[in-house]
């Protein structure tokens, strides 16, 4: 077992090196990005400037070293803002709207568009809804399976506010950190996951 782990780790190391060698310098990559996105407004430019965390994910193709992961989880955890009133659950019906809404943040969206969380794009939630994506795990019966436990509620809030505070280089958006969803919207989504009356738990 130990031997297997070591072989595996060595294999990953080699793969990692090969990948780093193939990657052109960031200056070369940035010149291409500038040619394609350089005319966008400063506000739009800022959106594609990687923060410290994304820079690591980009350079390692989402496989940071364990030291990088540890640092990332700590850095991102410090960015999570919890509800001031200590209440994590809002209105599950509004939470459904947030989970079902895929609008916002696209250059085709009219100004003032309210962003949704688009959870259905990647997760199964209400088992009766057939139109769901599979990029993330099924969240059906999420609250029920966790016996509506307060610690699990807090963990899920953390996950949605900043997915990378939980899994380094997670493919899931960092909804709170990137200001896609407000604290109120996240509380409503939490209710959609954790209210016993929510279709997710039926």
């Amino acid at each position: 077992m130990l031997k297997l782990t070591i072989t595996l780790a060595a294999g990953l190391l080699v793969a990692g090196q090969a990948c780093a060698q193939d990657r052109p310098s960031q200056a070369v990559i940035d010149a291409y990005i500038k040619s394609t996105f350089g005319k966008a407004s400063p506000e739009w430019q800022a959106r594609i400037k990687p923060d410290e965390t994304l820079a690591v994910c980009n350079a390692t193709r989402n496989t940071p070293s364990s030291a990088q992961s540890e640092e990332m989880l700590k850095r991102e955890a410090a960015r999570v803002a919890y509800p001031a009133d200590g209440k994590f659950l809002g209105d599950w019906k509004k939470g459904y709207q947030v989970a079902n809404n895929g609008r916002g943040g696209q250059f085709s969206d009219p100004p003032g568009t309210v962003s949704g969380g688009n959870c259905f794009a990647c997760h199964q939630l209400d088992p009766k809804e057939v139109s769901y994506g599979t990029l993330g795990p099924s969240l059906s019966a999420y609250g029920k399976d966790r016996k509506y436990d307060p610690e699990s509620i807090k963990d899920a809030y953390t996950k949605v506010y900043d997915s990378m505070a939980v899994v380094a280089c997670s493919n899931m958006p960092r909804f709170g950190v990137n200001k896609v969803l407000s604290v109120e919207q996240i509380k409503d989504v939490m209710a959609y996951l954790f209210d016993p009356e929510s279709p997710v738990n039926k």
Binding site: D22, R23, P24, V28, I29, A31, Y32, I33, S35, T36, F37, G38, K39, A40, S41, W44, Q45, R47, I48, K49, P50, L54, C57, N58, R61, N62, G102, G104, G105, Q106, F107, S108, S115, F120, A121, C122, V130, S131, Y132, G133, T134, L135, N171, P173, R174, N178, K179, V180
Partner: protein, 276 residues
């Protein structure tokens, strides 16, 4: 004209069935056979509306235009001036006269400017067609790409700039950003995934998914009633990626296309295809 419209409507209906089938994950059944029947019908030049674009493109290619009043037949797409057979199978590629790696659309704009002396502002403004707005670029791409049918995708990676474009394209494929932290890899780097009900091809590795994808563009999009090119596909994916509007015919898009063609090498071109 009436036949394609009826066929297109039937396809939409069939695609609706396809969605249901996908959700239920049931084995191939009658509705799948129906879709296959419509597919065959629609790859028939007489009922796939994409072939109307091919015909329009042929006229545009040989028409004398611009202040120099010459046609595009003096344009070198890599195989020699005016040579079209197989040219699309090797694009994007390096061109010595511009000292750049160019995809078909960049190259056509370059030729319009240099060969015909045409002001391309209006052509770029109409890069994507819409109701009552024809697109010369879509029509020309349909015509030229169709001349590579039956040939295999063969990206030339001999020039250092072609190699650079492929490597940058690969890095861009994994570059995350925008308010959702998305990259192409978020949606196109695993087998058998879908977003809502939309199947997502894994374009990160060489193989059938990448081959079938790249060998089927340009395509007639039934949902948009228009022929669309790879430039439009990437524009739409960057939109879903929550990135800024990409500049038409610019270097990052070409680099991504080079990378995708390396994954699709050997795929047999059959265009214009028809898609949802």
């Amino acid at each position: 004209m009436r036949i394609p419209l009826i066929a297109a409507a039937a396809l939409i209906a069939a695609m609706g069935l396809a969605g249901t089938r996908l959700a239920a994950q049931s084995p191939p059944d009658d509705s799948e056979k129906e879709i296959e029947r419509y597919r065959q019908m629609l790859s028939d030049p007489f009922s796939n509306p994409g072939f109307l674009a091919v015909d329009r493109g042929e006229v545009l290619w040989s028409e004398a235009r611009g202040p120099k009043s010459v046609s595009l037949e003096g344009c070198d797409l890599g195989e020699g001036p005016g040579k079209l057979d197989g040219a699309y199978a090797k694009l994007p590629r390096y061109f010595a006269d511009s000292d750049k790696v160019m995809d078909l659309e960049q190259r056509l704009l370059w030729c319009m400017d240099k060969v015909q002396g045409l002001d391309t502002k209006d052509v770029v403004a109409r890069r994507f067609s819409g109701p009552g707005k024809a697109s010369d670029m879509e029509d020309l791409v349909a015509f030229i790409a169709n001349k590579s049918n039956g040939m295999k995708i063969a990206p030339p990676l001999s020039h250092p700039k072609e190699k650079e474009a492929a490597a940058v394209g690969e890095a861009l494929f994994y570059t995350r950003g925008g308010v959702n932290d998305f990259s192409c890899a978020t949606c196109h780097a695993e087998e058998g995934k879908r977003i809502r009900l939309q199947g997502l091809p894994n374009l990160s590795v060489k193989g059938k998914a990448a081959q079938e994808t790249m060998a089927s563009w340009p395509t007639y999009r039934v949902s948009q009633s228009a022929l669309r090119t790879m430039q439009h596909r990437l524009w739409d994916c960057y939109r879903q990626q929550r990135w800024p509007v990409p500049e038409y015919g610019s270097d990052a898009l070409t680099a991504l296309t080079v990378f995708l063609e390396t994954r699709a090498e050997g795929g047999e071109i059959n265009v214009p295809s028809i898609k949802r």
